[in-house]
Amino acid sequence: MGKNTINSSVPISPSTPKSNKIATKQGAEVFIDVLRNEGIETMFGYPGGVVLPLFDALYKSPINFILSRHEQGATHMADAYARVTGKVGVVLVTSGPGACNTVTGLATASMDSIPLVVFTGQVKTHLIGNDAFQEADTTGITRPITKHNCIVKDPRDLARIMHEAFHIARTGRPGPVVVDLPLDVSTAQAPLSNSGAEIDLPGYRVRTEGHLRQIKRAAEAINESTRPVFYAGGGVIQANASEELRAVVQKANVPITTTLLGLGCFDENDPKSLEMLGMHGTAYANFAVQQCDLLVAIGARFDDRITGDVKCFAPHARIIHIDIDPASISKSVKVDIPVVGDARLILRELINYIEPSPRQEWFAQIDKWKKLYPLTYDNSSDKIKPQYIIEEVCRQTQGKAIVCTGVGQHQMWTAQFYKFSRPRHFASSGGLGTMGYGFPAAIGAQIACPNEVVIDFDGDSSFSMTLNELPTAVEYELPVKVCIMNNGYMGMVRQWQELFYGKRYSKSYLQHPSFARVAEAFGAIGITVTKKEEVPSVIEKMLQAKQCCVVDFHIEREENVWPMVAAGKGLDEMSGLPTGTSERV
């Protein structure tokens, strides 16, 4: 990449005064240069009127541009690309409806802190605010759902604003950034990129190193604790801190639970793993948190799906919170020892002050909970159980696939029954809970990792929202595997209607086409499975497919996700435990 120096072979625009020595290029060319300087090799998006000059510049560029069928799909693809690689996902869409179609994808990325830069075209600067064709107040609409957004009104700001966008997206607590590009700015002459040296953000400072005194206090608290629990979230994966986390957990000898977004940051097959906690987490994770005397939160934000009723969350615990975002600390739950900074740097320092401790009684208690309350389901019926499908796929992929999901019951079963062992192998919409995320996410993940197996565990209702991206998977020859847990319902909605609304299934069932025939019409492989004994062989066939393969599993229609912490209940007030009763232990 290297520094971008003034290229003497680039002609200076004839309109530049002779005394002005600043070299310029057409804005669209500067756009490409900045992308190249930022190391961008892949982009997602969809063209339109006001971005024609940008697409024209892209025509000659070696950047791998993935054309989706809808801008929402493109945004989710870029999001998953970012989750599995750690790089910034980049999107280019047009103004008005194009930009508006990215809103759901932006909000999804914003809630899960995913680094994206979304370039939206805009009408010419003198037409802004005039209700022009395909005009929308993109910066106004996306302000609450982006980490930052900006409109480039002056070509002289173009390179600087673009570099700033990448910097903001990927540093600190990552997040999506929108850059609005008016048509006349991309056709005007603009100064060349200075490879980011021109960034000017006096209000944006990222603190990465934790305060040593706080780190020592945290270590002291850990060493003194008899019943500690580590609670790790998506931030550990964002910080690429899984190795450091594993080292601290093993040295300190502490059990660890993860959030949905933290799945994979610690090997779930390790005996210290409590797997996922929260509303549909394991009983042993939830009991451990409610009984612990010290809770060490790392890169997690005490989301309401995790805490249950906040008033009775972790009642006996002192709380340590390691996070890069000071605004997350003591936002919902009061924190005793905050450590603000990058998780990786902090854990690397923390380990020096950690002393191991046997904690036999605590681990014995946890083992007891694991034996009494394992995750179970009744596989004796002849109906296909979704948990069985997930377990079988996990077995056949050795737990090594990249897994994406939509939102709902299937998402929770995936989190429970697919055993994650490595970071950046799970992409799921946690904070926003966006149905339809799964399939475009799988496309983005497959683009990012062409040699890995990518599975989308999806629901029939979730998949229906974005199945229009099937042509994208087929056109780019992506061997994405989709397992639809088809129960003919919006499963999670139905479960709540069963439990809390007297089984009044109001608008939660849908009539579906044959997903297999739909897939085939789009050029993918489509398989329907109605018999339980076909499951292992179909999965084998699916895994061997060299092109996009959609398997429509007709599963047990009214299976519920257990255990469950109902709204307003404490984490230890779970229903659906194997003993059949809810318990306070």
Binding site: H148, G203, K331
Partner: protein, 162 residues
């Protein structure tokens, strides 16, 4: 409880909307918000009076900090401040009442800035209590219209330091 915070922001379009939008989204209550330029043309200063308890104020500070064009936040809670609000107030003032009203104006060191046959317009500057007191004094005569800038503030020179 009212807290005064002074926020230095980059002088860019959309920053005010961003701050106001954040307050709305997070459910924080703004009592007043005044914004203007500083001696540095690239920076503006916002003086915001927030209603809420300590925990709310801490979240306000932290969420403001996340907004990229926000450069620095000064929390003036508990500090000795010079506080000023500027008000223009139109008071009903028939000729026979004018001497009384004039004496009130003098007592408050306010200024008459416009006169009509039935109304006078008065400019009043001062801390919040003074502004509120002036409005109260004018009520018996009839207050026609009031416009205020909202509070601006600056910390006093700390006692004892050089």
């Amino acid at each position: 409880m009212k807290h005064t915070i002074s926020v230095l922001v980059q002088n860019q379009p959309g920053v005010l909307a961003h701050v106001a939008g954040m307050f709305a989204a997070r459910g924080f209550n703004i009592d007043s918000l005044a914004v203007g330029r500083t001696e540095d043309p690239t920076l503006s200063r916002m003086t915001i009076v927030v209603l809420g308890d300590e925990a709310t104020l801490e979240q306000v500070r932290k969420q403001l900090g996340k907004i990229v064009p926000v450069v620095k936040i000064y929390d003036f809670t508990g500090q000795n401040l010079v506080q000023r609000d500027l008000m223009l107030i139109k008071v009903a003032a028939l000729p026979e009442k004018r001497p009384e009203i004039q004496s009130i104006i003098d007592m408050f060191r306010a200024k008459v800035v416009d006169i009509g046959p039935k109304f006078i317009m008065v400019e009043v500057t001062g801390p919040e209590q003074k502004i509120e007191a002036f409005i109260d004094m004018c009520r018996p005569y009839g207050v026609k219209d009031v416009v205020r800038t909202g509070m601006i503030a600056m910390p006093r020179h700390p006692k004892g330091s050089g």
